[in-house]
């Protein structure tokens, strides 16, 4: 059990930086998720931590040791791979015992640890079988077991659920969380799935194109995204974005778009004042778009008439794809009992206190409150 630190870590291939200046500190016992789209550098970062990839610049620290330059076996880590990477020619028992044998653990201890882990993961009856006789979910549990028996300081997991079907994924997700609750080992978990990230991580590090965007709790990431990338990446369906101009209209700050305008709340007015007569990116989450009929108290000047393109019924809610007369599209999450069909016109409200604002070029959030800078967040 140990803390993990990335200290200004870079990974370059020639002139191309795949990981840029990554600085991140994971306290002992925390479950941290590295999330981002393909090519964001998250797997590379994990592999540099594991020692499977050379570090171009910077240092990696596990516990109180600088492990940069050490081989994987000297780092006291265990890894769960996306494709499980079980040894096909060995029995499950031997797969689990392999690492312990290499570390010269006494035979009776090996046996005890292997059987304990196997029964904890519910694979005790499979110990004599070979990997090819197991289902995907069972193999994944063996992979987890192989990591558990080693009792390392850090667990590294590289998209372990990606090869499982949806139902199994949800199940195994819960098992991994339970595992962490029981063992408390520091865990670094890589995934491209933001749902996995949000549900599993104590804190989440969002990466894009090799750069750390934000390192925060799921809640803060969701409600206080630091830039438009994070805002659009976290949350499903994704946040809706519009490009609008901040303008003075009859003495009041308004957001003016091609076909509709939106009022600016008092709290946001001060922050937006600096961007008067500029175009900004305005964001609103799908669940914050409201059918006007539902709440008459909503500000009338925030109403936009839209046409329904597609309705996706999910049971507990529906996703409604809307289009304005000017062609702006947006997605809204609405309660299931509102009858909406493609072709309907409906008035929706974008409440001003639910709006997010981002600089048009940099994507950085424009906010009235103090924003924790990235340098301090790590």
């Amino acid at each position: 059990m140990a803390r993990v630190v990335f200290d200004h870590v870079w990974k370059r291939y020639g002139n191309n930086a795949v990981v840029e200046d990554l600085t991140l500190e994971v306290p002992d016992g925390e479950f941290v998720v590295l999330v981002g789209p393909s090519g964001s550098g998250k797997s590379t970062a994990l592999r540099m931590l594991a020692g499977l990839e050379e570090i171009s610049q910077g240092n990696v620290i596990i516990g109180d040791r600088v492990v940069t330059g050490l081989t994987p076996k000297d780092r006291d880590i265990a890894m769960v791979f996306q494709s499980y990477a079980l040894y096909p020619h060995m029995s499950i028992y031997d797969n689990l015992a392999y690492g312990l044998k290499l570390h010269h653990v006494a035979k009776p201890d090996i046996d005890r640890r292997v059987r304990e882990a196997a029964s904890f993961l519910g694979i005790a009856e499979l110990l004599d079988r070979k990997p090819r006789q197991l289902s995907g979910g069972q193999r994944q549990r063996v992979a987890l077991g192989r990591a558990i028996v080693r009792e390392p300081q850090v667990f590294l997991m590289d998209e372990p659920l990606s090869n499982l079907d949806a139902k199994l994924r949800v199940q195994t997700r819960a098992e991994i969380i339970k595992l962490h609750q029981r063992l408390g080992t520091t865990t670094i978990y890589v995934t491209h799935d933001q749902v996995e990230a949000m549900t599993m991580g104590d804190r989440i590090a969002v990466l894009n194109q090799g750069r750390l965007q934000q390192f925060d709790t799921p809640d803060r990431l969701y409600h206080h995204p630091v830039n438009s990338f994070v805002a659009g990446f976290i949350g499903s369906p994704a946040m809706n974005f519009f490009q609008m101009r901040v303008q003075d209209v009859e003495g009041q700050l308004k957001l003016v778009g091609e076909h509709f305008s939106l009022p600016v709340s008092a709290e946001d007015a001060s922050a937006l004042a600096a961007h008067r007569d500029e175009e900004v990116t305005v964001g609103i989450r799908p669940e914050d778009i409201v059918d006007r009929r539902l709440d008459g108290r909503l500000p009338a000047d925030a109403v936009i008439p839209v046409r329904v393109d597609v309705v996706e019924t999910l049971g507990p809610e529906q996703y409604v794809y809307l289009e304005t007369a000017a062609g702006d599209t947006m997605v809204a999450r609405m309660p299931p009992d509102i009858p909406l069909r493609a072709g309907n016109t409906v008035d929706v409200v974008l409440p001003p206190d639910r709006l997010y604002f981002f600089d048009l070029t940099s994507g950085d959030a424009i906010r009235g409150e103090e924003v924790e800078s990235l340098a301090e967040a790590g």
Binding site: K73, F81, H89, Y98, R146
Partner: protein
């Protein structure tokens, strides 16, 4: 023509073709067996006797009484086994490097290896003869063991390289994370998984070495150092204890020499199939 009858004609033709091919391939061996148990008088008799009327094992007895032939069997066994083991050991290590690491000159080395599988033995014979003499290996089995590697190593390396390439990288990485050194990962994880490839190339190397004639003829001089192909070749009328070429004994010797190869192939046949299709290993 209806599709049903067309299909029947198709399968008839297919089985006909199959029969022709089988006969073509098996006939020589069947003929050797038949000749080996036929009394001398019936060997060349016409009309052709497809099975001897008085089968006899006399030829086999004579062959096994032939001390030179027994020596040859022993020599062949030593040479073929040594060559196979050496090819596999060196080839596996070479294939591991070529299949798993990228380094400058990797491509040229691979193509060089490939080109050597097509090299005609006769072209290198003169130079090898010179080398064998310089190393003082003339008329010693070591000469054969060394020179046979020229044709066994290339295809061993080539086939095993594709095997090692097909193994998922994550297997090695999992081994490293578990605490294995590169050598341990090679021995305990990768090598067992390349087993089908090793069996295939090992068997092919063994067969090639066992059947090799040219080098054995050129580099060995005394009868006690001959290998089996050369020994059979030098069955003289004197061997037959008569005045004619002892075809019966040569056939018997041939059968004796071929049977081990057939047995080995039958034992490992399933592994060979896997090896030939460059086994894809699932992680």
């Amino acid at each position: 023509m209806g599709t049903a009858s067309r299909r029947t004609i198709g399968s008839i033709l297919f089985y006909l073709l199959l029969a022709v091919i089988l006969v073509y391939i098996i006939f020589p061996f069947y003929w050797a067996v038949r000749s080996s148990i036929a009394p001398n008088s019936e060997l060349f008799a016409t009309p052709v006797q497809y099975w001897p009327s008085h089968a006899t094992l006399a030829n086999y007895r004579l062959v096994f009484q032939n001390a030179d032939f027994i020596d040859a069997l022993r020599n062949s066994a030593i040479v073929a086994t040594s060559v196979t083991l050496a090819s596999l050991a060196v080839g596996a290590l070479g294939a591991y490097a070529l299949g798993r690491f990228s380094f400058r000159g990797r491509r040229p080395v691979l193509y060089l290896v490939l080109s050597m599988t097509m090299f005609p033995q006769i072209a290198v014979l003169g130079a090898l003869y010179d080398m064998v003499n310089r190393f003082g290996l003339y008329n010693r089995l070591g000469a054969l063991i060394l020179t046979y590697l020229i044709f066994t190593l290339p295809f061993t390396v080539w086939v095993l390289t594709s095997f090692f390439q097909a193994l998922p990288h994550e297997l090695e990485e999992a081994a490293y994370v578990d605490g294995a050194s590169p050598l341990q990962a090679f021995y305990q994880i990768l090598l067992p998984l390349a087993a089908p490839g090793m069996v295939t190339t090992g068997l092919l190397a063994f067969i090639a070495a066992w059947n090799e004639f040219l080098f054995a003829l050129s580099f060995m001089q005394t009868p006690d150092k001959r290998t089996v192909p050369v020994a059979i070749f030098t069955f003289t009328p004197a061997t037959g204890g008569g005045f004619e070429i002892p075809w019966g004994q040569m056939m018997a010797a041939t059968v004796v020499v071929t049977v081990p190869l057939i047995v080995l192939t039958l034992i490992f046949q399933r592994r060979i199939l896997a090896g030939l299709t460059a086994g894809a290993v699932k992680g």
